[in-house]
């Protein structure tokens, strides 16, 4: 059976596929958020040392994981765009940047909210937090650089370089708590096992899955808009039922 994998690397076909996938991911994400929040607030017990405050991890940890993974995937798409000169890869990278920036911001913000009652400080310049802040700035820099260049193909290349260079930061964030003395505690989720009560784990991993599905749904929806905007001069866009209808009404 020969599947043409490159069929969906063309914006023309991917636009339709993404449109079909978005509702599924959106609904699944909403359902998992509901389940995850229920387990997180109603089932999971309180923590022996941190009391109820620890529940921030149900959003803090997924947001942090997503901010790092999305950056690596974004840099991967950017590299694909540079190497193969494909249009869609660069559009995917641009579509992921705002979601990644949002997760990086949520991670820092919830961390600060939790840090004040637990550590006694909103913010400390330790290696984990500083490198996560740099990640947020890399996302914002990617978006700013891309929008500061008018020619989209040149903007793609410049922003792709920034994304690729910045990917060096991701392993630094992950290993910072191992390499240096930090106020941030070490990893709870390790390859050797997770040092966490089972119901807490269920809530956290459900929320993680929900965040993944949310990120996919939002990215696909956003890439559809980017495709339409970038390809608006083409015949296939003007022949789309939703576009043709809109113009007919005006």
């Amino acid at each position: 059976m020969a599947i043409n994998w490159f069929k969906y690397s063309a914006p023309t076909t991917f636009y339709g596929l993404a449109g079909k996938l978005v509702p599924w991911f959106a609904v699944a994400s909403a359902a998992l958020f509901a389940v995850g929040l229920y387990i997180g607030f109603a089932v999971a017990p309180m923590d022996a040392t941190q009391g109820e405050f620890y529940r921030i991890i149900f959003i803090h940890v997924p947001a942090s994981i997503l901010s790092m993974f999305l950056y690596l995937i974004m840099a991967g798409y950017a590299a694909l765009g540079l190497i193969f000169n494909t249009r869609l890869s660069a559009m995917m990278a641009s579509a992921m940047a705002p979601t990644g920036a949002l997760f990086a911001f949520i991670s820092l913000w919830t961390g600060a909210l939790w840090g004040k009652p637990m550590w006694g400080a909103w913010w400390v310049w330790d290696a984990r937090m500083t490198s996560e802040l740099i990640l947020l700035f890399l996302y914002l820099g990617f978006i700013a650089l891309h929008s500061s260049i008018d020619d989209p193909r040149r903007a793609d290349r410049a922003a792709a370089l920034l994304a690729i260079v910045g990917s060096v930061n991701v392993p630094i964030i992950y290993f910072s708590v191992k390499w240096w003395n930090t106020l941030h505690q070490g990893s709870t989720i390790k390859f050797s096992g997770t040092s966490m009560h089972i119901a807490m784990q269920q809530a956290m991993f459900t929320m993680l899955a929900a965040c993944w599905l949310y990120a996919i749904a939002v990215t696909l929806a956003r890439v559809r808009s980017i495709i339409l905007e970038r390809e608006k001069q083409t015949k296939w866009v003007s022949e789309l039922p939703e576009v043709a209808q809109g113009e007919g009404k005006q």
Binding site: M46, A48, T49, G120, I172, G186
Partner: protein, 163 residues
């Protein structure tokens, strides 16, 4: 080589080179990147003298004493090899407890005490409900009583201060 293979190699080389450069810089700045010094480092004179720095470790068991004013607290920070006495005037974070992680910022004065201006609590990566914690503590206590090695943490860190 095709142009796209060339571009692929360029990207790999660029990422490797930047990674190496960042790695070297971070290695050179190792002491500055770490948030705090350990008591052992302070004894080995690796911490800056005469100015403020952070020290981190565990609050030594049995070392916490409050003065009559209710605000001034004396305690010792230990890394289980050396311990350093600290005095702090102010409100301690909720998680501050004997045997738990702590980071204090301050200066070692002539009296040999670190006069802390800020005390932060550091906690570990384990999350468990109170009942599980109780069970663990009981098991540990029973174990320690059986082997006769009770309070080994407190004993190992009881090193006299000589500054």
């Amino acid at each position: 080589m095709k142009p796209r293979q060339k571009r692929f190699v360029y990207i790999i080389v660029a990422v490797a080179a930047i990674g190496l450069a960042v790695g070297l810089v971070l290695n050179a700045l190792k002491d500055n990147v770490s948030l705090y010094f350990t008591p052992t480092q302070v004894y080995n004179k690796e911490a800056p003298e005469g100015r403020s720095f952070r020290i981190g470790g565990l609050v030594e068991a049995g070392s916490v004493k409050r003065e009559a004013d209710g605000l001034t607290v004396h305690f010792a920070i230990t890394d289980l090899h050396k311990s350093l006495p600290v005095v702090y005037k102010g409100i301690l974070p909720d998680l501050f407890k004997e045997g738990k992680g702590v980071v204090a910022q301050g200066k070692i004065e002539a009296d040999g005490l670190m006069h802390a201006s800020e005390v932060l609590a550091k906690h570990d990566e384990n999350y468990m409900p109170p009942e599980a914690k109780d069970a663990l503590d009981k098991a540990a206590a029973a174990n320690a009583a059986a082997t006769g090695a009770a309070s080994s943490v407190g004993a190992a860190s009881a090193v006299p201060v000589a500054q």
